[in-house]
């Protein structure tokens, strides 16, 4: 190959390489199809906690250092919530939401994305505490006393009480629009947030 032809070919190859970089840095990608919208549920609920206490057995006490041999040990847990979502009359989500943290005694966070078709939809959301129910939704009779004691404490502090929340509205969502339903602490209700 002649040197000039080689130089020309080299220059063309270099140009193609940088053009390749330019093209690959802006490859078109449709992240979301046009006919999709989203119902997004996002809120934080400070649930009331139940505390379950039991005395330490003698064996357990023996395994502990003297200064840690308390008369009883207590385990607190946030009251779980039942989350139900119906769209246009059909229930599409029914879930139990537990408190965060390893011991489930931290606030409850709800974060769900539900795909919708763009248009008008009747949305119903229920978010209610499951009183006296354990993790698997089975009644735990032995917790009743604890629960009652907890209720008495809640009467003293109404703010801390787990309250049921509900949302029932007909909404209109556009293509690729996100309908965000969240908790408004001033109104103490679920509300839809509309963008600017």
């Amino acid at each position: 190959m002649k040197p000039t032809a080689r130089m020309a070919l080299g220059a063309i190859l270099a140009a193609l390489a940088v053009l390749g970089v330019g093209a690959a840095t802006r490859a078109p990608w449709t992240a979301t199809p046009m006919d999709l919208a989203l119902l997004r549920l996002s809120w934080r609920a400070q649930s009331e906690t139940t505390e379950e206490c039991r005395p330490l057995t003698e064996e357990e006490k023996a395994e502990l250092p003297v200064h840690m041999q308390v008369p009883e040990v207590c385990e607190s847990r946030a009251v779980p919530y039942r989350l139900r979502v119906s769209i246009d009359g059909s229930e599409i989500l029914a879930d139990t939401v537990h408190g965060s943290g390893a011991r489930e005694d931290r606030p409850i966070y709800v974060l769900r994305d539900i795909a919708l078709s763009p248009g008008r939809h009747a949305i119903e959301i229920e978010f209610a505490p499951i009183r006296g129910r354990g993790r698997d939704g089975q009644r735990e009779d032995e917790e009743r006393d604890t629960e009652e004691a907890s209720k008495e404490e809640d009467e003293e502090d109404e703010e801390a009480k787990a309250i049921p929340l509900a949302y029932a509205e007909t909404i209109v969502v556009g293509n690729r629009e996100v309908a965000l339903v969240t908790y408004d602490p001033t109104r103490r209700a679920l509300v839809r947030v509309v963008g600017p």
Partner: protein, 521 residues
């Protein structure tokens, strides 16, 4: 497993070798960018840092998208600087990818090179992370998609009390603290990369961090030209209450995004984790086992004169000079097996032939040569080609040197100059050493030291009594059969032009190698 690894390596090596050969023909081996990929990545990251400093002056964490838009509107400066920042980042990632592929295909990923491999893998991770934060900084639809995908994956880790994804639901505008943290990471990560780069080259003597001027200048000017003629545009502003539609996806930094988007957060994180583990574990599963594992160089203490040449020539700083224990005044070379890659370059550097990997020391090369002479037909007027077995000396390269006698060698830097002399003494018309192109040497500096020893009196130099007109050093990669033919043709022409005289007709027959030969015999 072993066979599968070999197949994998071959699969990686073949296209690379073919591309090397093609670019060698176009640009010559000196300016072949594929050979300079590691150093090119460093230069491009310097360009990214320099352009990033300018962009930093105008970036506002309170209005990220708007400030980047203002930068992009600066026709005379910001527009092309932003483009160069982006394109140089992408090109750096390409260069890093080629560099890693070459190291893997050449089997330079295990043992003493494991530190370089692992630190290199961390560098890749840091480059990707830095690119991630860079895109989020712009806060356009791609930045939004990346931020949300990242948050989803982080939420899969049981580390955070509140899901990070809740920050991106659109309930309120993104706080300035988020962009501050992002900016901090975008600046801190490159600083960390500097430290990791230092570790990356810590085991190399004379690391090459800057490619030839022609290569880096061409690369930077080409990317600058691209940023002028095809500037980076603004994508739509991020809106958390709208799902991103058409997103301009950067295939270098975000090629994983469409796959991860289709998976739950934990699965995306798992896939990325598995890929990272695979990359980091390469030194483990590419390590040759048992007899296949090359042995580290050893030093014959009786022969070591303490000249320090092997220590100077070692490309991996594996040889140090220590005081002797036997009362002799001179120093003694000591090889650190943890650093020695068994390249054999020290064998070529040692005049008394006292150092080298087992089986490849100067003495053993001489013994092999004499054995060969006993078996092979006598040489009269033939050209002998000593070709690197990673280049044209590789039997699978199927290069036919015509009437010349071909002799594969492990590395041109491993050849002791006495061997060249012995071939000529045995009657060869000339010796052509065909080395790999210097920047493609699997042992880093073999061809450089071969040239110095053959023609520039570097120890162990080719003796002055040898007619250097009968010795030639050429560079040809495995795919450069035509270059090998050209070198051979040129050498034949040079030899023909020489006077018809015996190579040693006018010198005293000083048998300097006799003591060594006697030892062998």
């Amino acid at each position: 497993m072993k066979a599968r690894l070999r197949t994998l390596r071959r699969a990686a090596w073949r296209p690379l070798a073919a591309a090397d050969g093609a670019l060698n023909r176009l640009y010559g081996w000196r300016f072949n960018p594929l050979y300079q990929s590691g150093a090119l990545a460093v230069v491009l990251l310097v360009v990214v840092s320099a352009t990033g400093l300018y962009l930093l002056l105008f970036y506002r964490i309170g209005a990220p998208w708007e400030s980047v838009e203002r930068i992009t509107e600066q026709t005379w400066s910001g527009r092309w600087i932003r483009g160069l920042h982006r394109y140089a980042s992408d090109a750096a990632l390409v260069a890093v990818g080629i560099h890693a592929l070459r190291m893997f295909a050449q089997g330079r990923s295990w043992g003493p090179r494991a530190l370089a491999w692992i630190s290199g893998a961390f560098l890749v991770g840091l480059v990707l992370l830095c690119g991630w934060t860079g895109y989020v900084m712009v806060w356009d639809v791609q930045g939004q998609t990346l931020a949300v995908a990242g948050a989803r994956m982080l939420d899969a880790l049981p580390l955070f009390g509140e899901p990070i994804s809740r920050a991106f639901v659109g309930e309120s505008p993104m706080p300035g603290q988020f962009f501050f943290l992002n900016l901090f990471l975008h600046i801190a990560i490159p600083v960390g990369m500097g430290v990791v780069l230092w570790v990356h080259v810590a085991r190399l003597a004379r690391p090459t961090l800057i490619p030839p001027r022609g290569v880096w200048l061409t690369a930077v000017l080409a990317l600058l030209g691209l940023s002028l003629v095809w500037p980076v545009d603004m994508a739509p502003r991020a809106d958390l209450l709208r799902l991103p539609g058409r997103v301009p996806l950067d295939l270098f930094f975000a090629i994983w995004l469409p796959f991860v988007e289709a998976l739950p957060g934990w699965a995306g994180l798992g896939v990325l984790g598995a890929l990272s583990a695979l990359l980091l574990s390469i030194p483990l599963w590419t390590r040759p086992r048992g007899a296949e594992r090359p042995l580290a160089s050893t030093v014959d203490e009786r022969l070591c004169t303490g000249c320090v040449q092997c220590s100077l020539d070692c490309p991996y700083e594996a040889i140090t000079m220590v005081a002797r224990a036997d009362g002799r005044a001179e120093l003694l070379a000591r090889v650190d097996p943890a650093r020695c890659v068994s390249c054999g370059i020290c064998a070529g550097s040692c005049a008394p032939m006292g150092v080298g990997p087992p089986g490849r020391t100067g003495r053993e090369q001489l013994a092999g040569f004499r054995g060969l002479l006993d078996q092979a037909p006598p040489i009269r007027g033939e050209v002998v080609v000593l070709a690197c077995d990673r280049g044209l000396g590789d039997p699978s390269a199927r290069w036919d040197p015509g009437g010349a006698r071909m002799r594969p060698v492990p590395c041109s830097g491993n050849i002791h100059s006495s061997i060249v002399e012995q071939w000529l003494r045995a009657g060869a018309a000339g010796v052509l050493v065909l080395a790999c192109p210097p920047r493609d040497c699997w042992n880093r500096e073999g061809p450089i030291w071969a040239r110095e020893r053959l023609f520039h009196d570097r120890e162990a130099e080719l003796h002055r009594r040898v007619d250097k007109g009968r010795v030639r050093l050429g560079y040809a990669s495995r795919s450069d059969a035509s270059v090998g033919n050209e070198e051979l043709a040129r050498f034949h022409a040079e030899l023909a032009a020489l006077e018809r005289k015996e190579p040693f007709a006018d010198v005293e027959p000083i048998r300097e190698c006799d003591p060594v030969l006697e030892m062998i015999e």
